[in-house]
């Protein structure tokens, strides 16, 4: 049976959701202000998935992420300062400014990187899971990927291998109904990506991705199963991104109706959860407000840090192309 989350766990989940939401909104603003070069893919609306899944993972469990990776990193324990500095292209960032938004990573908390390649994550997570089993750790590797990514051959090969070797691996599909500007119905003939699980010999589970408690419960079972040597699971979370594929436009997009957005926003995962938390008397509104205030303060500091940080020295360009003795 599903583990009931402790009060502390619920608060941590909530904190992560708020951290993600506020981080993304701040990043969006910074991009508008021209502080963030390149492409920015916001995770707003999908917070329940990263937060609910990650609650079951330790810093030694690994995850791979996507181009929409900030939420994954934050929920895995990412540090705002290092994230903003990276998004700004500063030398103090997670990647020393070499990666940017699409490549933030934190090996110390088992976050094997955001990834600019759609479908780039699953084979790597499968490899990490193989390594966990090989090294006889109890760690689990989780790949996050989108509905669009489920059409890449890389997903297929990784899923087959993970099931074949019974690896401690989770395939977490964040089905937000779109791959870029293409509706799911126009990129696959199926409605549920979870239907693919049977073809690999693993369970497939469909979950409301706006309900963080449902996410938490489903992920908990799958993680337990994987840790016990029971092999991989494909978890599909139905979710939605509130902003455009890239950038910060929310409404008035040509490829989706504002009404659709409104329907999903009415089920904003944070609103839903906060109502729940109050109903369950886990948190009061005041406590919740305090969370936002604390997060915002931390964000402000992080942005300040990033702004004050220097750009990389051009002389660093060729560093870390290779591992070098003593470098």
């Amino acid at each position: 049976m599903a583990k009931q989350p402790s009060k502390k766990a619920l608060q941590e989940i909530h904190l992560n959701m708020v951290r993600i939401r506020r981080f993304e909104e701040t990043a969006g603003r910074m991009a508008e202000n021209g502080k963030i070069p390149g492409a920015l893919h916001l995770y707003v609306g999908e917070e329940a998935v990263a937060s609910g899944v990650m609650q079951h993972l330790t810093a030694k469990d690994q995850i791979t992420s996507t181009h929409r990776g900030h939420g994954h990193l934050i929920a895995k324990g990412g540090v705002f300062k290092l994230m903003f500095a990276e998004l700004f292209g500063k030398s103090t960032g997670y990647c020393g400014g070499k990666g940017g938004s699409m490549h933030v990573c934190d090996m110390n908390v088992g976050m094997l990187g955001a990834n600019g390649i759609v479908g780039g994550g699953p084979p790597i997570a499968m490899g990490a899971a193989f390594s966990n089993k090989f090294r006889k750790t109890k760690d689990v590797a989780v790949c996050f990927f989108g509905d669009g990514a489920s059409n890449e051959g890389s997903f297929h090969e990784a899923a087959n291998m993970a099931a074949l070797y019974k690896l401690p691996c989770l395939f977490v599909c964040e089905n937000n109904g779109y791959g870029e500007y293409t509706k799911q119905a126009n990129h696959q003939a199926i409605v549920d990506v979870a239907d693919r699980a049977a073809g690999y010999g693993m369970p497939g589970v469909i979950v409301d991705g706006m309900d963080v408690m449902a996410v938490y419960e489903a992920a908990g079972e799958a993680v337990d199963q994987a840790r016990k040597g029971g092999g991989p699971t494909l978890l599909e979370f139905k979710t939605y991104r509130f902003y455009d594929h890239v950038g910060v436009r929310g409404m008035g997009l040509t490829y989706r109706a504002d009404e659709e957005l409104e329907i999903w926003k009415a089920r904003d995962p944070i609103d839903l959860f906060e109502k729940n938390l109050i109903d369950l008397k886990v948190m009061t509104q005041r406590k919740i407000d305090n969370v936002y205030a604390a997060v915002d303060a931390e964000l402000e500091e992080a942005v300040e840090f990033a702004e004050q940080s220097p750009y990389p020295d051009p002389a660093e360009l060729l560093d870390n192309v290779y591992w070098e003795e003593g470098a």
């Binding site: 070499k98 990666g99 940017g100 600019g116 390649i117 479908g119 293409t182 990129h187 360009l317």
Partner: protein, 333 residues
């Protein structure tokens, strides 16, 4: 349109020239269609295919799943059976996803089958850095393609060539890659109305000059031209050659220039090591050895992935200033 208006040469952006080129093709060839990730509803990145869905409808302008192997397979299978597809691999960086379909099917099928099949398929893709998109969205990988007998590779640097090469590519009965440059989308230039071809395999002399030859394709053509302007001020009259076509490569035009100038620099945005510049230099020194007064220089990207941070990307991508430096070095100025 009145005659007066037609006399005034028409200017278009590189972006609009691409769209117009594909539009001409779809008008001209009934069995042509355009397929790729987000090419229809969204008109692809930067809108290079904007409006084509409205103009030609969903039967001929088709959004695909994110499945690069499938997309190339679609191009191979459809072109082998009576269609003339244009398939799009959004960013050249994603070509790795479908290099098998490109290398082992598209490029070899005709040869392996002893000529029993034609593959009139065109592949469009966007290359290059400069937009802070980091290591996986900024590459120039034309060297991979040029090494594969059975396909052709063109890299237009101007709106005129973009349109003309797209049309030539789609009329060709061979697989042709049209590698576009994402930093050139706003570049303006004269573009005639209607359909015309730029010959595949023919270089352009973008600027004549007698003192020094610079060979530069894609975005680098513009850096070379601006370097030529700077060098003019130093009294060096540079000839700038735009190969336009990487495979086949117009060696003769380059050799003719070098026989006149005796010195050359080959520039490309791709990583220098193993880039197409090596091939060009090797050919030049073989065919014009006795005409060379100095080693042929190369300028490509340094040996690292493309970095994200603007300050790093700026020093990473070759530009006019570094071209000038290299030329001065060769000339001992």
């Amino acid at each position: 349109m009145s005659e007066a208006e037609q006399l005034e040469p028409r200017k278009l952006t590189y972006l609009a020239a691409i769209t117009e080129g594909v539009s001409e093709v779809l008008k001209e060839q009934d069995n042509a269609f355009l397929a790729g990730e987000d090419v229809a509803g969204a008109g692809s990145v930067f809108g290079i295919f904007g409006g084509l869905l409205d103009e030609f409808g969903p039967k001929r302008v088709i959004d695909t799943p994110i499945s690069e192997k499938g997309i190339i397979g679609l191009g191979v299978g459809a072109s082998a059976t009576g269609c003339r597809p244009i398939v799009d691999i959004m960013f050249m960086d994603f070509m790795g996803e479908c290099m098998d379909e490109i290398t082992n099917q598209m490029a070899k099928m005709r040869f392996m089958f002893g000529g029993a099949v034609n593959l009139p398929v065109t592949v469009t893709t966007m290359s290059g850095g400069g937009r802070n998109l980091a290591a996986q969205h900024s590459q120039c990988l034309e060297a991979w393609l040029a090494h594969l007998p059975g396909i052709k590779v063109v890299m237009p640097a101007t709106p005129y060539d973009a349109k003309g090469l797209i049309i030539a590519a789609t009329r060709d009965n061979n697989p042709v890659f049209v590698v576009l440059s994402k930093m050139l989308v706003a570049e303006e230039g004269e573009v005639p109305e209607g359909a015309y071809e730029v010959e595949i395999g023919k270089a352009a002399i973008a600027k004549e000059g007698g003192d020094f030859t610079i060979v530069a394709h894609g975005r680098m053509l513009h850096e070379a031209l601006s370097a030529a302007t700077q060098l003019k001020a130093l009294g060096v009259d540079v000839e700038v050659i735009d190969p336009r076509s990487i495979q086949p490569f117009d060696t003769q035009t380059v050799i003719d220039s070098i026989k006149k100038t005796h010195r050359a620099l080959v520039v490309h945005e791709a990583v220098q090591f193993g880039g197409i510049g090596g091939e060009i230099v090797a050919q030049i020194q073989e065919l014009a050895f006795d005409y060379l007064d100095a080693p042929i220089g190369r300028l490509g990207a340094p040996f690292s992935p493309v970095p994200f941070s603007p300050v790093l990307e700026n020093v990473y991508i070759p530009n006019a200033d570094r071209i000038v430096e290299k030329v001065k070095e060769t000339l001992g100025l």
